[in-house]
Symmetry: D2
Subunit: 483 residues, 4 copies
């Protein structure tokens, strides 16, 4: 049974044109005028775009004996409600745990997903076992490895471990990711703030100033350059980090930066709210920054020095947030955003003219599809591509509110924001998953998306590094001389 999206305007990272889209067996089989199918989806007045890809989520993430509140069921439900059709979550081995073992746990959790998903594998410790299993992980369809430069004593790895893992990525044709904050300094600043009686949620922001993020970004870039591998910097939140990325790019280094929708639209004043809950609910790492940093991030999206807008969706309820009353370091780090990413970005980006519609598609979907090597299966409106599509109504409006959201938690950091531009329909592999304000697919519809290593950028960089590698000086009779 075929399906056709009629009367819409297709908007991709490249193009804007009127055409219908014919779908069969989960794939786009034809694009053109006046197509016919067994079932019609009306896109009159709408844009038909590649479904969003959020490359940065933490669903049902283990934390202090509990879990982040949105799991693969509610999380992907929120995703689809907001036009996102694929999420990439982080498999996090406990220190000492094997990568494949951790992967098994993530495989189990993800069975409930409403939309397609993939995983990044985190490198949280280093050993010969980890080195060996990295290869097996790539064979399992994971070509990205995440590294934490913060969370000292837990997930953090140090510089020689980074180098070793990055080097291994280079061999495997995989791409390393970093959470870039200087964990040593964050720990010292946190201890000092607590000692000084700065224990409220604003202390979290004080303990992670832009400088510590900029420094770690700069360091990771250098290490990646030495290891001969591209680098993807998650949640780039500030000018300092963005500056390090731009500086690297101006030297021809291959680095991508990922601002979050939260950092683009919310600022540090949230932490100074008199209401502890309000502030604590916004606690995430890196914290929100000021307006100057926001301007920097928007400029990055327009100019291409930043590539992807993500959410770092990691939802904790108010109850969970209150673990940190009296000690901000115990407030679980994370906020929601999966449902709001695309409407917020459209409203604050496209409606204002800061970015074009095509750039919107690029930063919400196509760019990351290319980086992750799943383009054009995902991120494209092309014959042969998965029919992960969003029918976007640019005139639809709503006021964001926790009361009406999909997420399992009891608040929303964008509460009260008016957005213009919303999905009318979201399709996951050809199935209408979001329509009439409701999720239409059962849990478990989502499938794992395998991703091969060896992207063109990775290969080109290896060629260049080989060409310019250090060569020994030829000498005879060493040493050869007197004074």
């Amino acid at each position: 049974m075929t399906k056709v999206i009629k009367n819409g305007t297709i908007v991709t990272a490249d193009l804007t044109y009127k055409a219908d889209v014919l779908i069969d067996s989960g794939k786009i089989i034809e694009i053109g005028p006046n197509l016919k199918g067994d079932e019609e989806i009306d896109a009159t007045g709408c844009y038909v775009m590649p479904g969003g890809i959020d490359p940065h989520t933490h669903l049902e993430m283990p934390f202090m004996g509990t879990y982040s509140s949105d799991d693969f069921e509610s999380g992907t439900r929120a995703a689809l409600a907001g036009g996102t059709t694929m999420v990439v979550d982080f498999a996090l081995p406990a220190p000492g745990e094997g990568l494949l073992e951790a992967l098994k746990r993530w495989d189990n959790k993800s069975t409930r997903a409403h939309c397609d998903y993939s995983f990044h594998m985190a490198i949280t410790w280093w050993s010969e076992q980890v080195f060996n299993e990295m290869k097996q992980v790539t064979e399992r369809g994971i070509n990205t490895f995440k590294h934490f430069m913060a969370y000292k004593g837990a997930l953090m790895v140090n510089d020689d471990e980074l180098y070793s893992s990055f080097k291994r990525c280079a061999e495997l044709g995989a791409i390393p990711l970093v959470h870039a904050e200087n964990g040593d300094v964050v720990a010292e600043l946190s201890a000092k703030l607590l000692a000084d009686g700065n224990n409220g949620p604003e202390g979290h922001a004080y303990s992670r100033p832009p400088q510590v993020e900029g420094e770690a970004t700069n360091r990771a870039i250098m290490i990646a350059d030495m290891a001969g591998v591209p680098l993807y910097v998650v949640h780039t939140s500030c000018e300092e980090s963005h500056e390090a990325i731009r500086r690297a790019k101006m030297q021809g280094k291959r680095v991508w930066g990922e601002p979050l929708i939260q950092h683009l639209t919310l600022d540090e004043s949230e932490y100074f709210d008199k209401d502890w809950d309000h502030a604590a609910r916004r606690v995430m790492s890196p914290p929100f920054r000021n307006k100057q940093h926001q301007d920097s991030l928007w400029a990055g999206l327009a100019s291409g020095s930043l590539s992807v807008v993500a959410t770092d969706h990691c939802a904790f309820s108010t109850e969970q947030k209150r673990y940190g009353v009296g000690d901000f370091t115990k407030i679980p780090n994370g906020t929601g955003g999966l449902e709001d990413r695309m409407p917020m970005l459209w409203t604050y980006g496209v409606e204002t003219g800061r970015i074009t519609m095509n750039e919107f598609v690029a930063v919400t979907s196509t760019n990351i599809a290319k980086i992750l090597n799943v383009y054009p299966k995902k991120g494209a409106v092309l014959v042969g591509a998965d029919a992960d599509l969003v029918v976007w109504d640019p005139e639809a409006t709503k006021t964001i509110s926790a009361e009406t959201q999909q997420s399992a938690i009891d608040y929303n950091v964008f509460e009260g924001k008016e957005v213009k531009g919303l999905p009318r329909y979201t399709l996951s592999r050809g199935v209408v998953a979001w329509a009439d304000g409701k999720i239409q697919t059962p849990e478990g519809h989502g499938e794992f998306v395998a991703r091969d290593p060896g992207m063109p950028v990775t290969k080109a960089l290896s060629t260049w590094k080989e060409l310019t590698a250090p060569r020994p000086v030829e000498r005879s009779g060493i040493p050869a001389t007197g004074v």
Copy 2:
């Protein structure tokens, strides 16, 4: 009668995949496996890419009572021989001449073209007539206006003229281009050099150091920002200019930079050659720079801070160059490059790993097609696009030489360079125009490509500028107060 390109690998700015390409009536009508057509073109072992677009040529350009030696016939012949299927030339009104009048002259010259072409219109003086005719020019399919900040006393316009013309571009949805060198300073430096006895071709390079280019680029960017319009900087040759572009981009400004293949691969040492002819033949503006500037340009291509590789093809014979014996300011400015741009960029860029194949397509074709608003008619391998294609043999090699070139002149600035990667076939709107080392199409095959104003970037910028425009403070009883 249909034509099919068989057994090749399609390489676009986005994608690399095996597929055949079916062509009818000058357009791509199908892309897929195992296609059949009336005529077969064998692409075994080859890449099938969008034909190159060179947005910067001067064919049969009037100069000191004569003309640049390559006209639309020999110039487009050279283009096709090198895989380029479209050129954009500059219509240059004499001071006082109307735009439409100048256009007529270019229309006449271009009737001999072997491949498709379009025009940029130059604004070489300012008046109400020029203001008015700019609109008519856009209606004639020209959405780009060129401005010379150098060539004082001839083509140069000053800052208020730039502002007025840029403002007019903003109204029309057109994009201004600049030749960015400070003409006043070039004139002063030239006079001083001649007075000091520095009259050889190296004096040309001394008279146009990177600083004067960087300054003018920076100035044009500011003026475009004030006028609320994007900017395209032609022949970005140096770090100073590239830096100004990067700085603009980091503030969210819409600016593109265009390095030339000459600046990417040749350096200033050419001007110090003991042979006057050798040096004079390399005289162009801006002049070749040193290796550090080359590294900067390559990094710009890899990182996206520079967008397009062009040639500024403007060929003068040795005889013409010798007009400047004893006075470098009389050496006609310009070099060839149309036939060599793509093989040189492939050899020094793709083969070395500095850029990927997809980036090669982007910077030789797709990016400029988008900027000029002719994508996907040009610059794409998509159903419905013009079949301007190149079948690229990555294993083919040759040594560049004037003896075997298409260009009408008697030397080649790349003489002796070994290139690897050459067109096996070049197709212009479905016609095989280059095969077996020979041009197959008659002159006059080329058609004018009309380009509409109002690109998405132009519109988005206007929206943002309107949103952030100065607003008057509301006051009553002005003035209202004492001390």
Copy 3:
């Protein structure tokens, strides 16, 4: 009759130490412990510092048929009341007027000065006469030449005039100064704003955004570099201009920037005041900027990328400001500041820890004395130096108010600011000129300070430029070859 300053702490750009200062015949004749003199000045609890030098004033400046309201009498009275013991004013030839003729007018006006003074000579047009008179001007003790890149149709000179004048400065060992704003663009923006009904004082700010200042600074730096001469940029008000200066310095260029006390402490919100008079009184060029720009300027003072704090004192009464009701371009440009510069800088700079006391002396006095080649006659506490001194009471406070100021005008842009740190005594060549809250010297006490060209920096730069000057390639038999 000798005078001794007892019990104070000497603070110079270099040093902080307890010592007395013995003065005779207008000069410091001894520095040390327990000195004795005919007259004692008590400096207990105070710092004894070099008197301030304000290198940027416009006293009794002709304007639209009237004059700026503070003349050399009231202006230098204000200076002394604020600890400043020397001012440098600008001699402004009308277009077509000879330099020496203009100088005569300034000589006349300055006879009423209470403190020492010198002149910069403005180059407001270009001719052989100007070229020739520049030499005579230097022989008259003026080694600095000012150039306006704004005020189109009045004072503005264009790029080839800048180059010619800068080149002449290089020959004479003099230093060019620039008022850096793009006058063409300011004129265009002003016209557009007025046409759009933006005629209030805020329109002045809108018409001169940081970009137009940054651009002109960048351009002047390039031209100075080409001419082989250092450059002094007056009233550096923004990050854009400061960035251009830093970028030049990072290439070894000799450039100084001069922020004004107004730009360091007041911001653009002043122009949005509902009271027209309030806003109009703050109209000056460049206009006040936002807080980010202020941070940039303060960082420049601390790091040394900016060198001097001045005032651009050019006072117009409210009545004069009202010439511009209904048309901001008619509001006379200028504010006061002579009396407030040092207390404001101490309060916002030294008291906060942004700069040290020694840096305070450097930026208010010593640096400019060196740049202007009057060090150590001025700007020093050294034996042999002029006894231009301020006895600074760091505990004294006041609230700035027009009611108690020396300036002739009826308001003060710093009205209501609390300052801590004030002169107890100000000495001009050994004469106590300010004490007990009153001026003690008669008008006419001030003398012209002659300044020789040929500073060490100027000489070093000439040496380097000569060493690296373009050299012709030696060739025989030109042209020498075939293909």
Copy 4:
């Protein structure tokens, strides 16, 4: 018995003027014309400048069971021969060794010094004992603490140790120094190079590219900023590190950079010499860089973004260097330079016009005297200052050669360089220590120079950091709200 330096021109960081200098009991007691003393030193045709201060030496430094070959005797002899009158050496505790214990060892070694000296104390490990002894060390007259970010497994400290020590410096009013290279990455690169058969001296350069220095500099700056303390970066050798320093300064941070005379005048091609000995003798960390880095360093000296020229004098004989045949990591790191620093800088800096004579004095003596808080006892030509002076003959020339040098080793990295500008006399506390090409003072003449903490810059920074410290948000009833 008094001594007078007659007929010279005094050159300081500020001033150039003709005057005689009268000396008694090791101090300057008068400066002026026509002075008389018991003994006359003829300075006709010469400049009389503050003696040089080299803040970076390693004399008799323990290494692999042996010691660097120049001890305090030969090292200070070389210093005086080159116009340097004070050295600052590094006391290096072994891991686990107390600071005071280490100091004792350095006290012992230094008894043989010919000129005055002081120490920096290195923090090579961290503990409560170290924390406590830092205070005692400052009481012993040492206000600077050195930290190694490289030499993993030996001297290197990690980020939290850096933070703790920097924080301690802030409390004590002391200044931290860093050797900035990423030790983890250097170790990894070294291992890889050796594994790849890159074992020659050029491997040393390959293992420490500019990136690893730039990264560490950037990191140290961030940590110092967080700890609220200024930072001094030793041996700044490259643009990457200089860029990090400039970027910090542009944000108002207090950071100084110290290029070495070697990096200013020698380049990486030395390591590619076919003679193993030649290359190995140049092995130091950081290694020599290319010409672009040299240009960056020179621009830093001219513009003030770099502050001090030092040597890192650490001399190893060819025999010692040969420990590393077959394994570059075993080549002792270090070169000489004490005798050559000032003549080389004069020749390549002052003679060329890159810096002025006054800037020469600033970067060889006065700036570091201020930073180290020994100004004006050292680094000045002022009454009351130590008579550490050099009578500099700008016309004297020589060819640098190991055969005629003071240093104990058998080669000189500047071998064959022609220098113009040499000390005629060097005076240490009024004693003629170098004259007629020979050392005149006995060993042991040198005295320890105590240096107090609490410099003005340190205090100002603390004030600012306190003013802008994080403040808790006042909240009642925490948590306070529902959704």
